[in-house]
């Protein structure tokens, strides 16, 4: 068993176990901490896949940004009441059926497509285009072929900033 495989199993098991803990924990703070473990494990998976830039973005944006936002909101609203009430709604039959259908469907796709998923040994992408480093490659592609989607994404972020400020601001008497 190669080092790569051992590391993959380590991160995969860690990610799945903490993801299960995210949706089963009673306390929201515990969920947030488990989510941090999942996100960091996924960053490790990205490193195994030689997507170093994405691993960094994952840690900075997800763990450092989104998760801190979650913890901040948890701090702002009181959670004492929520810990003591019922955690699950009564849809578990539908949820079970949906989950089984989804697992079955994805499993069928993977099983039926196992011959077409035999891909060539991965070439290091850098050598193909004559560029060095994952970040440079991602940057060249992002600001080259995908410049318009990049600009649209920045407008989406602007709209999100304005929207969340408008949602969370105090009602003034002039309105």
């Amino acid at each position: 068993m190669s080092v790569e495989l051992v590391l993959f199993y380590l991160f995969a098991v860690l990610a799945v176990l903490s993801a299960i803990f995210v949706i089963t924990a009673k306390n929201v703070v515990h969920s947030a901490v488990a989510l941090a473990v999942t996100l960091l494990s996924v960053a490790g998976i990205f490193l195994i896949l030689h997507a170093e830039f994405l691993a960094g973005v994952q840690v900075i944006v997800y763990v450092g940004g989104i998760l801190v936002l979650f913890v901040f909101v948890i701090m702002l609203i009181s959670i004492e009441k929520a810990v003591h009430e019922r955690q699950y709604n009564r849809q578990w039959v539908i949820a079970l059926i949906t989950a089984l259908l989804l697992i079955g469907e994805l499993g069928l796709v993977l099983w039926r497509g196992k011959d077409s998923l035999v891909l060539a040994e991965p070439r290091p992408v850098e050598s193909v285009l004559g560029l060095t480093g994952n970040s440079q490659l991602v940057g060249e592609t992002l600001y080259g072929n995908y410049l318009l989607p990049f600009e649209i994404a920045s407008i989406l972020l602007l709209v999100a900033i304005v929207g969340s400020v408008a949602l969370a601001k105090k009602k003034t008497s002039t309105e």
């Binding site: 896949l49 944006v61 609203i77 040994e121 999100a160």
Partner: protein
């Protein structure tokens, strides 16, 4: 050598856990976290194919997914705060004023 099926199976598992979380939990913060889990599962698939096919476009798409996830978290948590100010609850079963 980790085959691509390993990554796809991991992505499928994380996505299904996220779906179960969205469908069964009553706390809106946990539901938002489950949506983040699903976005991560998609990112794993994108980057696995990007790495195996030797094309960097998948990683750029993953960056866009992360952008959308950040925007979604910001707006979603803004809604949570506005909701908590009005109804003092995080339980989605009690947020039913638009139900008829």
């Amino acid at each position: 050598m980790v085959s691509i099926q390993h990554y796809l199976m991991l992505g499928a598992a994380l996505f299904t856990i996220g779906v179960v979380g969205v469908l069964t939990r009553r706390n809106i913060l946990v539901i938002l976290m489950s949506i983040e889990l699903m976005m991560n599962a998609v990112n794993i698939n994108l980057i696995a194919f990007s790495s195996r096919l030797g094309q960097v476009a998948g990683q750029v798409f993953a960056i866009f997914v992360i952008t959308v996830a950040a925007a979604e978290a910001a707006v979603g948590l803004g809604i949570v705060i506005a909701m908590f100010k009005n109804k003092e609850t995080m339980n989605i079963n009690e947020i039913d004023i638009m139900k008829w």
